[in-house]
């Protein structure tokens, strides 16, 4: 291969775009031709400089990212007010936090929340240990518990995985499990639970929130990124489906 012939192949060679035969011919030539080898090194160096110069971080990316997320989110308002909401939450926590978080409420609520968490952990660690209800049976038991349909949490990004009967504190609850690509949440529904607690309970990396006045509890991991959206969607859905 002549040096002149090689010149036009150098560009695709450094981009790994040559076929095996041509790449071999070029590599063979480069091994014995110092000027061409130098030319190839210069080309690579030039590309590196261009990459470095081109990939300078852009200012204001976080704001722009939030704008994009807002645009695709039906709950964009929640994000827009998240900063203010966080400040309000801190203030609320300082004022009434001790009453909510540190108050052990009563031993039964404590035991109940612990029991809900155990049910969730059971599903995470041994997903097939409790049988899923078939869709027809699930609709039937949900109606008995006062919900006309399976709540959809799709607007919060979670799809319904399945429903089963679980028994925290030996009380019969319907556990509805939802999932997105990397998180799992559960709704526990029971009309027979007559000691609804208020506020949020955090324990062992989980958050438990009662949804409205009904005995429906949302159990999530503390790390849930869109907790505000999820809670809002679940609450509205439960209210809409409650008979």
């Amino acid at each position: 291969m002549e040096c002149k012939e090689l010149q036009k192949l150098l560009s695709p060679f450094v981009d790994n775009e040559l076929g095996a035969h041509d790449a071999f011919m070029v590599a063979e030539h480069l091994e014995v031709c110092t000027p061409c080898h130098h030319e190839m090194e210069t080309l690579r160096c030039f590309d590196d400089q261009l990459k470095t110069a081109g990939r300078i971080p852009i200012k204001g990316m976080e704001d722009f990212r939030l704008r994009i997320l807002d645009m695709i989110s039906p709950w964009g308002w929640a994000r827009r007010w998240r900063g203010l909401g966080a400040a309000a939450a801190v203030l609320m926590f300082l004022v009434i936090g001790p009453q909510i978080f540190s108050a052990p409420s009563d031993p039964e609520t404590d035991a109940f929340s612990q029991s809900l968490i155990s049910e969730v952990q059971l599903n995470i660690n041994q997903p097939f240990s409790l049988p899923w209800l078939d869709p027809q049976s699930l609709q039937h038991v949900l109606r008995q518990e006062g919900l006309s349909e399976i709540p959809s949490l799709a607007p919060a990004g979670f799809h319904f995985e399945g429903g089963r009967v679980s028994n925290p504190l030996s009380r019969s609850f319907i556990q509805l499990v939802y999932r997105n690509s990397n998180e799992e949440i559960s709704l526990f529904v029971s009309r027979r639970w007559d000691r609804p607690f208020s506020g949020t309970i955090k324990r062992e990396g989980f958050t438990i929130v009662p949804l409205g006045i009904r005995a429906v509890f949302l159990v999530t991991k503390d790390s849930l990124s869109n907790f505000v959206d999820t809670r809002q969607v679940a609450e509205e859905e439960i209210n809409a489906l409650s008979s």
Binding site: S11, P12, D15, F46, G54, R55, I58, I68, M71, I72
Partner: protein, 177 residues
């Protein structure tokens, strides 16, 4: 199921690369942001049909290039189509229509001096790391054109930078003052 969480995981991480490219291609931050917003809106609307095993980044860039082409086309004649016409009629596209005698000798400045046809290919392949085939699909040009534009753009960009540096050296040593 293709939901918002998957969209956030798969599409949103490419936001900065898309904005960077849009700024390069449209030459203006505000127009670039509009184009990227439009890109994400279109991508979100058709995300249900997006196949997870395909290259999300290349898919987004294809949408972006189309959006920019359309917005540029609204403002004036499509420079890409114009350039294609010129190229196929064997006329030479000027690589540095705004060259100002090497005033801007940095690599970013030199890149700005390139005509969009050459700059876009160089940008997509070298800076963003797309394969020739992907760049060809995005820009809607034959793969051979990608190769020839890259070859010429690299050569001319280097020549431009080298000339600028030597002119600067001459000025510094007192010649040409």
């Amino acid at each position: 199921m293709r939901n918002r969480a998957s969209f956030e995981n798969e599409a949103v991480p490419h936001l900065e690369a898309l904005l960077r490219t849009a700024v390069r291609m449209s030459g203006d931050r505000a127009r670039a942001e509009d184009a990227v917003q439009e890109t994400y809106l279109r991508a979100w609307r058709s995300f249900r049909t997006y196949q997870p095993e395909t290259n999300c980044r290349a898919w987004l860039f294809r949408i972006l290039v189309n959006v920019i082409k359309k917005t540029v086309g609204k403002r004036r004649h499509d420079p890409l189509a114009e350039a294609e016409e010129v190229e196929t009629s064997t006329k030479v596209i000027p690589l540095f229509p705004n060259a100002d005698g090497g005033e801007r000798r940095d690599i970013q400045g030199a890149l700005d001096q390139l005509t969009p046809e050459f700059r876009n290919v160089l940008w997509l392949v070298i800076v963003e790391g797309f394969a020739y085939k992907e760049a060809a699909q995005m820009l809607d040009i034959p793969i051979g054109t990608v190769m020839s534009r890259l070859y010429r753009a690299r050569r001319e960009l280097r020549r431009f930078l080298t000339t600028s540096v030597s002119q600067e050296k001459e000025r510094a040593s007192g010649h040409g003052v």
